[in-house]
């Protein structure tokens, strides 16, 4: 039986209290929201904070408010997000991404803030303490070597968040609050391509909200590869968003998931798309841009060369869907998930 390690538990009622308590010992404290990432990691001793600050009792983190766009509190559950009519109507790519995260039980628990900050994953890291000890640990926790590529000087654990590629494609920003103040950063700038230091969030900061600009004129979509039609983290994914003027694209972003230690934007694709209509040739060229950039590693499910090839087909499907092609059959075949939501 796997028991949690001992820790001191604190449950603030306000963000201000949470930030003040976090500032007392940021390096030894971790924030607990839905618990679906942190609790398994603590049971396996991948993370062993001496203090855990539970955010569940802070009402201000659980609101979704409409302004120019949409502001989503970091404590909104993934189920809460997929049931939000505004998300479903105006941010389809985000809705599709969140509806495909894990299972209904885990979506009932997990929060959007937690999925954004989701720990990077790796075959050599997401294991019990005894398993990791048997290979003399890895550099992400307790060891010195990256077992994915032993000559690598950085950790290659893979970014496994579904929501972040979708949110970045939609131009999201996030609010970070500490005892010292508040700052807002583009979600894209929250990430670094390093499996250990994958967030630029300081340890004394709390991610309190994610803000989406107006979805007017935008179409968005999310395509995900995983072995099963439920449960599994992405092993390759693509989020695409484009703003159209008639048939022509005015603005576009393509973001790849699970093929690096961070959600990976494809800038060449955006440049290629602007001012154009989505012809088959253009879609092929953009899919090639994405294929060239994707660097899946041999540290998650499925064979890495095949995963890289699948990126090309995911981008093709995503762009065809944005163009208005009927992709339902292809999506069902890939996702083996009806994209229906349990109330």
């Amino acid at each position: 039986m796997m028991r949690l390690p001992s820790y001191r538990y604190r449950a603030p009622k306000t963000v201000a209290d949470a930030a003040a308590w976090l500032a007392e010992s940021p390096a030894e404290t971790m924030l607990l929201a839905g618990g679906t990432d942190l609790i398994p990691n603590m049971k396996r001793r991948q993370q062993t904070p001496s203090t855990v600050i539970g955010l569940r009792s802070i009402p201000e983190l659980t609101a979704i408010t409409r302004g120019q766009g949409l502001t989503i509190g970091s404590g909104v559950t993934l189920t809460g997000l997929v049931h939000d009519a505004r998300v479903r109507a105006h941010y389809v790519g985000l809705w599709q991404a969140v509806a495909q995260i894990a299972t209904p039980h885990l979506r009932n628990m997990g929060t959007i803030g937690g999925n954004i900050c989701l720990d990077t994953r790796c075959t050599y890291y997401d294991q019990t303490f005894e398993w990791r000890k048997a290979i003399d640990f890895c550099m992400k926790k307790d060891g010195d070597t990256c077992w994915v590529a032993t000559s690598s000087d950085r950790c290659l654990a893979v970014s496994s968040t579904d929501s972040a590629p979708a949110l970045i494609a939609l131009g999201a920003t996030v609010t970070l609050v500490s005892a010292a103040g508040t700052r807002e950063v583009a979600l894209s700038d929250l990430y670094a391509n390093d499996g250990m230091h994958y967030l630029t969030r300081r340890r004394d900061e709390i991610l309190t909200a994610v803000r989406l600009p107006s979805g007017n004129g935008w179409r968005s979509t999310y395509w995900k590869l995983r072995r099963r039609g439920s449960f599994d983290f992405p092993v390759a994914s693509v989020a695409a968003a484009a703003r159209f003027d008639g048939d022509h694209i005015v603005d576009a972003r393509i973001v790849l998931g699970a093929v690096a230690s961070r959600p990976l934007e494809v800038p060449a694709a955006s440049a290629r798309l602007v001012g154009q209509a989505l012809s088959n040739d253009l879609i092929t060229a953009v899919a090639d841009d994405a294929y060239a950039l994707a660097k899946p590693m041999d540290n998650t499910d499925f064979e890495l060369v095949w995963r890289k090839k699948v990126v090309r087909s995911l981008v093709t499907s995503a762009l065809r869907e944005l163009r208005g092609d009927d992709m339902r059959e292809a999506r069902t075949k890939l996702a083996r998930h009806p994209l229906i939501v349990v109330s």
Binding site: V52, P104, H105
Partner: protein, 156 residues
């Protein structure tokens, strides 16, 4: 370690407990309240065997720190029986062979109850989606889906 006090309602009865802060709801249910119907499965959120209802919503008790259930209503498989009578879901699982080894059954019953409470007559697709977080290694799932459909059919 300082124990912390929690009060919650479990299967409609008040529970007032002193427990270590590092205990999960699953451990408290089984070890402090002797409600062993809820099962230890993977303990990592990958199987659904430990599902319970918290304020009517199916959650995984292995990932829930017990202290985060302060003031909440918890329903376990033991709470499905009313006045000594099995819940219609339990009757249908027995009638249609929805359980073989039975280890995953409490989590599935609880999850199906949450579905039927919200959607008395769900489609088969919706039942599959609702139960997509519950693994079963015996039945092949068909009898489980049949049993939930039958329970829905018996719903008024």
């Amino acid at each position: 370690m300082t124990k912390l006090r929690i009060t919650m309602a479990v299967n409609g009865e008040p529970a007032d407990l002193l427990v270590d802060p590092d205990k999960t709801l699953l451990e408290v249910l089984r070890e402090d309240l002797n409600l062993t119907g809820t099962k230890h499965g993977c303990e990592l959120g990958e199987c659904g065997a430990c599902a319970v209802l918290v304020d009517g919503q199916p959650l995984l008790s292995c990932l829930l720190v017990a202290h985060e259930c302060e003031g909440r209503q918890v329903t376990t498989v033991e709470g499905l029986v009313e006045d000594g009578r099995l819940h219609p879901l339990q009757e249908c699982f027995a009638d249609l062979g929805g359980a073989q080894c039975g280890y995953c059954t409490p989590g599935i019953l609880i999850t199906a109850k949450a579905l039927l409470d919200r959607e008395p007559h769900p489609s088969r697709e919706l039942i599959k989606e609702a139960l997509s977080g519950n693994l079963c290694r015996c039945t092949g799932y068909q009898q489980i889906l049949d049993a939930v459909e039958e329970a829905a059919r018996r719903n008024p």
